[in-house]
Structures are given as structure tokens and as C-alpha cells.
């Protein structure tokens, strides 16, 4: 069952993102929100790790949180709004929040 993984902590302060990447299934999705969008900072190991994910794993980031941190989504990631967030929850069978 495909799962949408919801991350909200900075990947520079704990290992949630690294743990999540190890657990991803082939059709899972990763949604970065809050400080987790810092994983998309250019030139970081975190972004490199995300770009190494198989193409079947979708990568999303909340546009609002990107804008608040003056970041822009790289080609690998899709910036989404809240209505799309809601629809994505329906697209995946489960939503797993890395609290």
C-alpha cells in the first residue's frame, strides 16, 4: 500500500528524513512541510539524497512553507497548495506523519 510521508522537522537537526528515506516503498510519496522544506536547499546532502530517490517516488513541498523560507522547488519536487495536499491524502492509501 502506497503511503504519503509527511515531514515537518528540519533535516539538519534530526534524522527523521534519513529514516524516512530508508523506509520508502516504491510507490510512496514524500511531502515536505514546515522546516522540512530546508531539505531542498541547493548544494546540500539532503537534496542530493532526495534526488537519488527512484523516479516512482513523488516528492512534494508545501509552497507556502517554501515561500516563507525564500526557497524554490527544484525540478525533482512539486510545489503544492493546501487543496492539493488534501487530494494527495486521498491518492495514497495511508498518510504517515513523522511527528
Amino acid at each position: 500500500m502506497a503511503t504519503l510521508h509527511l515531514l515537518s522537522h528540519s533535516p539538519f537537526s534530526d534524522s527523521r528524513l534519513a529514516s524516512c528515506l530508508r523506509l520508502l516503498g516504491p510507490d510512496d510519496g514524500v511531502l515536505l512541510s514546515g522546516d522540512a522544506v530546508y531539505a531542498l536547499q541547493p548544494g546540500t546532502a539532503q537534496l542530493q539524497a532526495l534526488e537519488l530517490m527512484p523516479a516512482s517516488i513523488a516528492l512534494y513541498a508545501l509552497d507556502e512553507d517554501l515561500q516563507a523560507r525564500a526557497l524554490s522547488a527544484p525540478a525533482r519536487a512539486q510545489a503544492i497548495d493546501y487543496p492539493t495536499f488534501v487530494e494527495l491524502c486521498g491518492h495514497y492509501a495511508k498518510v504517515n506523519s513523522w511527528l
Partner: protein, 130 residues
């Protein structure tokens, strides 16, 4: 689609605002929220005594308005609430405390309500962290 939404973070945490925006988008998208469950530090959002600075979003107030406007089932975990000093009139009397700071539309109940919400809903979405 039926959603259950659980909030683990207090009203001053960014994830509380994210949960509210998500909940609003859920209703606006024509979906149903079967229950909101406020757990751990999330219980602070249900307190009537939260006073936000004038230049900041009053998230506790926004949650209250949202719950009332859509007549939602908004449950606050009783064990998490009691240990954080969030009490309704009944609990304040039971434990001999001088004041209550939780009233309608919020309801104090147990963790079983979260489990039940997860069973009733198609998706359980939890919010916490930064």
C-alpha cells in the same frame, strides 16, 4: 472522503496553523471531517485563556471559530488536558481547581476517541512538529 485530523502541537507551533489550513481545505474541497482530536500539547489550542499578541494570528480563536462554523466533533484528550491545566467546569470541580478554561464546542474525552476516529475515517492525518 472522510478525514480524521489529529493535532499534537500547541497553538504557537507552526504545525498548528498548518493543521488548521489543511482542515479548512478539507471542508472547502467537499470532504467530511469525522473528528478533530487534540492530543499532547495540542490541548492548549482548546484553552479559552490563550491570548495571542495583537499582530499575530489567534490560532486558538481560529480553531474555535472553525469548529463552531462547521459544527465539528472536536475532542480534547482528557489525560493530556488535565496534566496541562486545561479543565472544563466538571473537571475543575472534581479536582478542586479554582477555574475552568475549556467549554463548548470542545469536549473532553479519552484516547479511544482517536482510535474510533481512525476507524471511521478513510484517512487519519496527524500534525505536529515545526
Amino acid at each position: 472522503m472522510k478525514f480524521a485530523i489529529a493535532l499534537f502541537a500547541p497553538s504557537h507551533a507552526p504545525s498548528s496553523r498548518r493543521a488548521l489550513r489543511f482542515a479548512q481545505a478539507t471542508v472547502d474541497g467537499g470532504h467530511e471531517i469525522v473528528r478533530l482530536f487534540f492530543y499532547q500539547d495540542g490541548v492548549h489550542s482548546a484553552s479559552s485563556n490563550v491570548v495571542s499578541p495583537q499582530d499575530e494570528l489567534d490560532l486558538a480563536g481560529e480553531w474555535r471559530n472553525f469548529v463552531q462554523q462547521h459544527n465539528l466533533d472536536a475532542v480534547v484528550c482528557i489525560a493530556a488536558a488535565l496534566r496541562r491545566g486545561v479543565l472544563n467546569a466538571e473537571e475543575a470541580q472534581r479536582y478542586g481547581r479554582p477555574a475552568a478554561n475549556l467549554d463548548a464546542p470542545w469536549e473532553l474525552s479519552g484516547l479511544g476517541q482517536l482510535h474510533e476516529a481512525a476507524q471511521m475515517a478513510d484517512r487519519l492525518v496527524c500534525f505536529g512538529g515545526q
